[in-house]
Amino acid sequence: MNLGLHLLSLVTFFPLVGVLVILFLNDQQKTAIRWTALLTTLATFGLSLLVLLQFSTSNPDLQLVERATWVNIGGGEISYFLGVDGLSILLLLLTTFLTPIAILSTWDAVQDRVKGFMIFFLLMEIGMSGVFLAQDLVLFFVFWEFSLVPMYFLIGVWGGPRRIYAAIKFFLYTMAGSILMLVAILWLGLYQGTFSLPDLIAKGGLPATTQLWLFLGFAIAFAVKVPLFPLHSWLPDAHVEAPTAGSVILAGVLLKMGAYGLLRFNLSLFPQASIQLAPWLAAIAVIGILYGAAVAFVQKDMKKLVAYSSVSHLGFVVLGLFALTPSIAIQGSILQMINHGVSTGALFLIVGMIYERRHTREMDRLGGIWKVMPVYGALSLIVILSSIGLPGMNGFVGEFSILLGSFLSTVPYSPWFAGIAALGVILAAVYLLHMFEKVFLGPLNNPENAGLKDLRPREILTLLPLLVMIFWIGLYPKPFFALITPSVAKLAAALQTAAMTSIH
């Protein structure tokens, strides 16, 4: 199929079609704008399924590659270079899967300046897909920075009362990290004469100290995005102020860009530095798991609680990545990125649903609403349990693989990290059940809660795909692992080789 040649570009830039159509619509034609955005993103999801169809699971290398020289600076070639492999295919699918769901959730919630909202949302999707597909450092950086702008506006324009503060904070934190990454990219590209990631990996041969500095340059940018403790404090503000759909995408996809960056760039480009710094990163990840959980437990605002739970959950992802070998930990991490996107995305939708009705997220003002909203209660319970990591649901498969891998890992102290991280599994139950109890159980004292209407069919429809994923991944994760396995095995082999050479 001729289409196959530019399939990745098509997926990435297809949302532009929607942007174009919306530009010609009047701001008052809200329904038309919404439908355009929804259909565009659904079509994009369809295209990404086409990518999946063409994707060969047995091939560990980049596939559906598109490459063209872009510019040359100072002997370094910058190219327009897209490709997909086992490390990124699921994240691409997650992006195109979550975006229409997020748009569906705005149907009633966003009434103001719908046109601008949808345009930014579609642009956002371009940035995110691009990040996961770009195989050239400069191109990656362009997409990385590009994705920042629409989210800045989504928070800053459609956000809550402190939206400007939150938007600026979000922007500054990420920018501060990005600058370091940019310096590292430029240095690396000019030193090696290419910005293409596969070429850089093939060349290798960076001296150990250089690797260390470059590793840190990249890692700090990514750590802000993940966010890793102690660089996380932009996240709660951003989440609390962001509109629901923004939070869904922020937690669901944007945070994954950080973890993905660590996986794609740090582990691949700087294997020796990764091995050297792995215990440190794992330790920070474990601290983040416990710290995020403790802070989440005492929040009164549901959204803030979920935001801090992300800090804790993403700690597991990073712990798995820096367990390095055997590959089961990294595989678990990739799957856990998807799981977190699904479960936390769903949690934010759930918080959004009650916020639309009650205009508050204060748990003290809720309580006992299971009685009036049983369907909502039941679906929330499923999502909360998946986030707690109950077996049979998605979170368990990821967490268990990560902890198992971390336990088996050769990284110093890793069994201890796994053991302490297991406390995080207990704490997840502590804070999430606390939230469930506060919101849904107990007497229905507050008269404002008595008249709440249960979920509408559209809201159930919004949650349904996520619920399907929760059980699918929980009960039959095989197809997902099949996509991940070969590429991770390749990466793990490279890390193994690096470990051997650094011993000699």
Binding site: I328, P374, S401, A422, V425, F481
Partner: protein, 630 residues
């Protein structure tokens, strides 16, 4: 017939899904038909499978059925596979049969409650999960069932969710057991790390091949699994959640917190007995945990006024006996006591449920009395259950199962006189607190009138369980009383026989006699203390020493207080003092620093020429100085 195995757990799960989705729109009759029927079908299938299993045993006395591979990453590929051997067969039979009877009871007991379909949905999910737990052929699937029953326990303890205390009790149960679960998960990692499999039979085989007796890895792995077991089975030090779990409806207490789920720890240890045999120190710990728990819980049971809390502490204590048996290598004795206990304790909880309903939701035994004549059938069945619990000699099942444990605790090579003595004191306590319950509730002067009479389904459930509470003991009798070994022989395909020291083997008759006397004396003492001279008893409680002991025993020896002080409060305090995330202050500090710098620098831009001139002069001097001196 064996091919139908997978349907046994699946049918209750289908019942759950049906009830969860369309349940709220169905009539109560339809809900009961689905809810009770699904477990009933499951029980019939279990019996059919059992008949086929016994009449034509599969090769190796075990049958494995794989539905699909659950997870496969590199060499880690546990399946959704079921493993049927004599041990899991017994568990399946008890779970489905007792489960069915309790469902039947619930159909009437819960009839006028709000959330009828929600109740049966949870109960069906529970039965399905419990069956997955006992049938799992690998530890990961077992863990799935393990967490699944924990979830149902959470949901059902908090069934009456509008009362905040119930929500708290539910959360406490979930979190305390999850502490054990986390230990167990680490145990699984350790096993997989060293043995490269989680298939239970392979784990056993490879462990026996690779590990020496007492090797540190075996000890650690067994200890971590024990952590999971004490959490689920409410043994020391994780026993605190069970008394509070009585917040759930009575059938829930009967099914989950007496007959089945809480014995999952016993099953886990029996299932992985090879590991424990490789770790004698851990096995000794199992025995000591059991002995200590049965005593502490026995004392606590003596002081409760809430009839269900007496039964809760009694459950903790009886599971302590099972742990004691496991700890001395009397595997089949533990399973035997699990069986008899499942029947008589479920019976007691169900009968207590009738009493509570008849007393208009009153739990306090001191406000009851004389119910013997008002609720005759309930009284007689409760009496049978109590006799079995007190191990009344010869006619009750509890006598045969408990005395087998006591004998093994004394006569097995890892047993000792001390363990036996602990069990004996426990047995004495058991008959006192049990008959305290009987006398306070059913004898004496009636204080209130029963406002309710149970209907046919409840009566049927009570009668069936009472019959089993009497008869099931005859599956296994001591050598001088017929020497029947039906159960032991059946289990011998899965569990090693209990070894008995030859020099102690002869004492069986004497020991049985001693415990028979102890049981009867206990009952008589209860009669004296709580029926004949209750004033004296009150005086004893109010004496200085009595008051202190009473307070400790009543509060479960202060474990709640201890955990609250040592763990919960410090955690909450720490988390609370960091509510606003102190890390953010760091970044706020950077902002403040910038602002301060900004203010300082903006002062220099004041439009005064002499300031500027001074500035230029100072700058020039500094630069010249640098050039000259460096």
């Amino acid at each position: 017939m064996l091919g139908l195995l997978w349907l046994i757990p699946v049918i209750p799960l289908i019942g759950f899904i049906l009830l969860a989705i369309i349940g709220p729109r169905l009539s109560r009759t339809a809900v009961a038909i689905i809810g009770v029927g699904s477990v009933g079908i499951s029980a019939i299938l279990a019996i059919l499978v059992a008949i086929s299993f016994i009449s034509s045993p599969p090769a190796g006395n075990a049958f494995t059925q794989t539905l699909w591979t659950w997870i496969n990453v590199t060499n880690f590929n546990p399946g959704i596979s079921f493993y049927l051997d004599s041990l899991s067969m017994i568990m399946v039979l008890v779970v489905t049969f007792v489960g069915f009877v309790i469902h039947l009871y619930s159909a009437e007991h819960m009839l006028h409650q709000e959330g009828y379909s929600r109740f049966f949905a949870y109960m069906n999910l529970f039965v399905g999960s419990m069956l997955i737990l006992v049938l799992a052929n690998n530890l990961l699937l077992l863990y799935l069932g393990w967490e699944g029953v924990g979830l149902c326990s959470y949901l059902l303890i908090g069934f009456w969710y509008t009362n905040p205390a119930n929500g708290r009790a539910a959360r406490k149960a979930f979190i305390v057991t999850r502490v054990g679960d986390a230990a167990m998960a680490i145990g699984l990692f350790l096993l997989f790390n060293n043995l490269a499999t989680l298939n239970i039979q392979d784990v056993m085989q490879r462990a026996a091949q690779t590990w020496q007796i007492g090797s540190p890895l075996a000890v650690t792995a067994a200890a971590l699994l024990l952590g999971g077991a004490v959490g689920k089975s409410a043994q020391l030090p994780l026993q605190t959640w069970l008394p509070d779990a009585m917040a759930g409806p009575s059938p829930v207490s009967a099914l989950i917190h007496a007959a089945t789920m809480v014995t999952a720890g016993v099953y886990l240890i029996a299932r992985t007995h090879v590991l424990f045999s490789l770790a004698p120190s851990v096995q000794l710990a199992v025995a000591i945990v059991g002995a200590a728990t049965l005593l502490l819980a026995g004392f606590s049971a003596l002081t409760q006024w809430d009839i269900k809390r007496v039964l809760a502490y009694s459950t903790i204590s009886q599971i302590g006996y099972m742990f004691l048996a496991l700890g001395v290598g009397a595997w089949s004795a533990a399973i035997f006591h699990f069986m008899t206990h499942a029947f008589f304790k479920a019976l007691l909880f169900l009968a207590a449920g009738v009493v509570i309903d008849a007393m208009n939701d009153e739990h306090n035994m001191f406000k009851m009395g004389g119910l013997r004549t008002q609720l005759p059938l309930t009284f007689w069945t409760f009496l049978i259950g109590s006799s079995a619990l007190s191990a009344l000699p010869l006619i009750t099942s509890g006598f045969y199962s408990k005395d087998l444990i006591l004998f093994d605790a004394y006569a097995s090579p890892s047993g000792s006189t001390w363990l036996w003595l602990a069990g004996l004191v426990g047995a004495f306590l058991t008959s006192i607190y049990t008959f305290r319950m009987v006398f306070l509730t059913f004898f004496g002067k009636p204080k209130t009138k029963a406002v309710y009479q149970p209907g046919s389904r409840i009566n049927l459930a009570l009668i069936v369980l009472a019959a089993f509470a009497l008869l099931i003991g005859f599956l296994e009798t001591p050598s001088f009383l017929g020497n029947i070994n039906v159960l032991g022989n059946f289990l011998s395909a899965s569990l090693p026989a209990t070894s008995i020291l030859p020099q102690r083997a002869g004492s069986e008759g004497i020991l049985e006699l001693v415990s028979a006397v102890i049981s009867l004396v206990g009952i008589y003492l209860a009669y004296l203390l709580f029926l004949r001279v209750p004033k004296t008893t009150e005086a004893m409680v109010q004496s200085p020493v009595g008051a202190v002991l009473h307070r400790y025993w009543f509060s479960g020896w202060g474990f709640d207080w201890l955990y609250d002080t040592v763990l919960v409060r410090p955690f909450v305090w720490m988390a609370n003092s960091n509510k606003n995330d102190f890390i953010d202050l760091l970044y706020k500090g950077i902002i403040r620093l910038n602002e301060a710098l900004h203010r300082v620098l903006s002062n220099t831009e004041n439009g005064l020429v002499r300031w500027y001139a001074t500035g230029i002069a100072i700058g020039a001097v500094i630069i010249i100085a640098i050039v000259v001196f460096l």
